[in-house]
Symmetry: C2
Subunit: 251 residues, 2 copies
């Protein structure tokens, strides 16, 4: 029963997917997590392909990743994923990241909604496929990291900016969720990554960015090592996503 509820997918940390320290980047890990969510849902009849037939799609609302370490270049690792909870408008999907020797590298939590592509309005998850999504709920699997919290940024001067280009845009015509992570990491100096572990990364997707949008990155630093970032349209100030990064000093 557990076997069917928890999906497990294997990866290797490829050379162009690791940073200057030789560790997998958070953007690439995020990509793997979202792919695993897709595989796991598809295997159970709730994949994008099936949903698209009915003009529904999954939308990622929040992602939080907390790690003790990132896989090293060429290291094999696995992502396990399962559904923790299903509500009417949201579902919580969790992840564990395991090293080659089975040790746990970290965990992640994600929150998803389903929307109608015709109306862009949320769908009732409990009404879909006769409510069968609840058969996959697996609350007994532990995920000992905090849920994504509220992120609030008050800075009014951007610390960085970029214009959304070809490489930023996904098949839906929106700035792709992973590229936001990369642009946010690029705010921080190399030295910080050398001396610190990005122990927790959290992101909340608020609105869609489009090709040509000029986007500003606004940063608050409340306590040392904790940075809250908001990506806003420079033109109008609409927030597109918010992230929170916790860096802890390496031994």
């Amino acid at each position: 029963m557990m076997d069917n509820k928890v999906g497990r997918y294997e990866f290797v940390a490829e050379p162009f997917h690791v940073d200057f320290t030789g560790r997998l980047t958070m953007g690439v890990l995020g990509n793997h997590l979202l792919n695993c969510a897709g595989f796991h849902a598809a295997d159970r009849g709730f994949g994008i392909a099936e949903l698209n037939e009915d003009n529904y799609t999954w939308v990622l609302s929040r992602l939080a990743v907390e790690l003790e370490e990132m896989p090293m270049q060429y290291e094999q690792f696995a992502v396990e994923t399962w559904v923790e909870n299903v509500y009417r408008l949201f579902t919580d999907r969790n992840f564990a990241i395991r090293g080659a020797d089975g040790r746990t590298l970290g965990y992640a939590r994600s929150v998803w909604a389903m929307i109608s592509m015709n109306t862009r309005r949320p769908a009732d998850l409990l009404a879909l496929h006769g409510g069968s999504i609840v058969d996959y709920i697996c609350p007994e699997q532990p995920c000992p990291i905090a849920k994504p919290g509220r992120i609030k940024v008050s800075a009014s001067v951007p610390q960085g900016e970029f214009t959304a280009r070809y490489s930023d845009i996904d098949i839906n015509g929106h700035v792709n969720s992973i590229r936001y992570i990369e642009h946010i990491l690029d705010l921080f100096p190399l030295d910080l990554f050398r001396t610190h572990l990005l122990q927790r990364f959290e992101i909340a997707y608020v609105a869609e960015g489009y090709y040509g949008d000029r986007l500003g990155l606004y940063v608050d630093q409340s306590v040392p090592g904790c940075h809250e970032v908001e990506v806003r349209k420079m033109d109008g100030g609409e927030p597109l996503c918010r992230a929170k990064l916790i860096f802890t000093k390496r031994n």
Copy 2:
């Protein structure tokens, strides 16, 4: 015998690896090609890990990709790779990209050198491992695309620029080969990708970029659809790489 000479590796075009048209991006394809080169070399005793023990490493000098089409989102495809030729200081490695149904999507050619990490000087490929690298030469495998040519850019005003950030830097502390491809593609408007196929992409790596380098992208357009790009340090003008892109109108 051929089986041992030609490596074959399977992929699927992941959602965050396709562009707004739903086709794999050239950066991601380039990443897969370089990974396949690594797998194929490693399986034959010429991988980075083995070379590193002797303080040698492979350096990509040139890459040319020519395609009839790119894999679509979720499409399975395969990369085949083999060594066409080995010279004293360079080796030519070719690739074929095959769709799920076995049809050929395109081909690629690459040129590699091996350097000593102690002296940064090139190694004699024919002297390595008693010259056994020549056992893997497979000239009979067809690769019907032109070899990488000479690229010359005379523009003196940049059409774009970027500063090398965290996400750009690889484990060697250099701007990563794939990120150059992405930055170069980002020079071109979305409409060009909508109406045209990037039929041929060619890149020559000349010198290494480092964290914090301000890099300018200089573009010549000699004939319609053909763009030659040079990435130069804004400070000093040193060229780091040169690329040539041929866009052909879609039917």
